[in-house]
């Protein structure tokens, strides 16, 4: 079994067979994380680069650890300290590191679609670690993995995604992935933060959080992207917290055994109350652990086999 593409660019284009393969492989690999020696020799001799044009703690560290646990060599480029500040183009930076022998480039970039461009330029695998307001496929996969581990399935579950849908690549990857796997997805947030035509993606949109949460198996709360709010799409964080913030009172409407998810980093007291973030239903720390397992699965599936033949 192998993935049908050399790159992971988004869940919009990924087949359910590939998603299933990644989730099943992650299931097996998660066991390694509980060992005293978290290291297997599988990717010895492979080199993986994380090229991040935006700040990140968990995604970059998660990829780096996934690589290290599988014995790949990992190299990080933070663009603030690289030749990017001297004016080097994305293409030239990527080509330079590829000819140094990279087997995979994991990129985060503020421009939507930049990973598609990179995948055309490079022969090695390209993983999208978040591109602008477009997709964050590995986050979508780890969210699906977490739900599947807790609930035993994805099909037929009601998943409510709450918050800043407009700016969220996590929301888009979740919507594409979950709907393909047979879950019912609803979204809710201020009308200014819900993109037009969202229902064409196969989801129902609400502007009242309560309507979306009602009967939900999973409530996935998004981070309010304060850095992308210069245009003033809502009056104040205080008002946002009062009308759209997820707290105990609102979660009463969800199913009794609901899961509460958040991709992190959290704005505590704004989109999510501390009480529920640290509560019994929260899977937030588990999501981080699962992220490493899912990324190990992706590295194994792309680098572990005869990828030269799979590339074309």
């Amino acid at each position: 079994m192998r993935l049908s593409s050399k790159d992971i660019l988004g869940l919009q284009e990924m087949s359910t067979t590939d998603m299933q393969l990644i989730l099943d492989t992650a299931e097996s690999l998660k066991e390694i994380l509980s060992r005293p020696i978290k290291k297997v020799p599988t990717l010895r001799g492979k080199t993986v680069l994380t090229l991040f044009y935006e700040p990140s703690t968990r995604t970059r560290t998660s990829f780096e650890l996934a690589g290290k646990y599988m014995s790949a060599d990992t190299v990080n480029i933070a663009t603030t300290t690289s030749s990017v500040v001297k004016g080097e183009t994305l293409r030239d930076t990527a080509k330079t590191v590829e000819v140094m022998g990279m087997d995979m480039v994991i990129m985060r970039h503020p421009i939507s679609g930049s990973c598609y461009y990179l995948s055309k330029v490079l022969d090695c695998s390209v993983i999208n670690a978040g591109d602008g307001m477009h997709e964050h496929p590995t986050q979508g996969l780890l969210d699906m993995f977490t739900i599947r581990q807790r609930k035993g399935r994805l099909k037929g579950l009601k998943v409510a995604i709450i918050g800043d849908i407009f700016h969220s690549r996590v929301a888009r990857s979740n919507i594409w992935g979950l709907t393909k796997m047979g879950a019912e997805v609803v979204v809710a947030g201020p009308s200014t933060l819900i993109p037009p035509y969202i229902e064409e993606m196969g989801v129902k949109a609400y502007t009242r959080v309560e309507e979306a949460i009602e009967g939900a198996d999973v409530v996935n709360v998004l981070r309010l992207q304060l850095e992308r709010q210069q245009r003033g799409l809502f009056p104040s964080t205080r008002e946002y917290a009062r009308i759209f913030g997820i707290n105990q009172a609102r979660l009463v409407l969800a199913k009794k055994d609901h899961l509460l998810m958040h991709p992190g980093p959290m704005n505590r007291g704004v989109e999510i109350s501390t009480e529920v973030a640290d509560g019994d239903h929260s899977t937030i720390t588990e999501q981080v652990t699962n992220g490493v397992a899912v990324r190990m699965a992706i590295l194994y599936l792309l680098l572990g086999g005869a990828i030269d033949e799979a590339a074309d």
Binding site: M1, R2, D24, T25, E27, S28, L29, E31, I32, R35, P36, I37, K39, V40, P41, T42, M70, A297, Y300, L301, G304, G305, A306, E309
Partner: protein
């Protein structure tokens, strides 16, 4: 060009397999002077039912249950990049710490020795056993590494054109049997 396998001979039927396993279960107990600190670990896939059956036979003889683990060696293979089909990773499940214990690794066929080498690496990452022994259903020769089995149900000298196929009820359904198959190009 596809390679077909044609059955050349049946080496063991269910009864011969059962008797052979009873014999090596006795050998395991005798050599280890009982079952204390013993763990049976089966290499996926057909090593797993072999380990489980050995544990059941040992329990009948000794009256005590030996823990059984499952080892997936996919991540330790030395031929990942040369294989055309990528192996599916399965979970490793070893229920008790192996440090200081005697591990009996079980598999169906011992051939080049590369699977056992990978299994040894995988075990070392789980802890430091006091001793590792190898139990197999058949040893067909052609070793590429200096590895040998401690317990063998049947030694089967083969040519490289031949393949040993083990059918075990738990994995393959039907009756237990071990056959020599020959490659026929067609």
């Amino acid at each position: 060009m596809s390679i077909n396998l044609v059955e050349k001979a049946q080496i063991m039927d269910a009864e011969a397999i059962r008797r052979g396993m009873v014999r090596i279960a006795h050998e395991i107990i005798e050599r280890n002077k009982g079952t204390q600190d013993l763990i049976l670990i089966g290499i996926r896939r057909r090593g797993v039912p072999i380990a489980q059956r050995l544990a059941a036979i040992i329990e009948e003889i000794e009256g005590s249950r030996v823990p059984v683990g499952v080892l997936d060696i996919t991540l330790y293979r030395d031929d990942l990049t040369t294989r055309t089909e990528q192996p599916v990773v399965h979970r490793t499940e070893v229920p008790v710490p192996i440090a200081g214990k005697t591990v009996v690794l079980a598999d169906d066929v011992l051939y080049t020795g590369r699977t056992i080498r990978a299994a040894l690496d995988a075990l070392m990452d789980l802890g430091r056993p006091a001793m590792i022994q190898v139990a197999v259903l058949t040893d067909r020769g052609h070793r590429e590494l200096p590895i040998r089995a401690d317990y063998v149900v049947k030694n089967v000298p083969t040519s490289k054109r031949e393949v040993i196929e083990c059918h075990l009820t738990e994995v393959d359904g039907g009756a237990d049997r071990v056959m020599i198959m020959e490659k026929a190009e067609g």
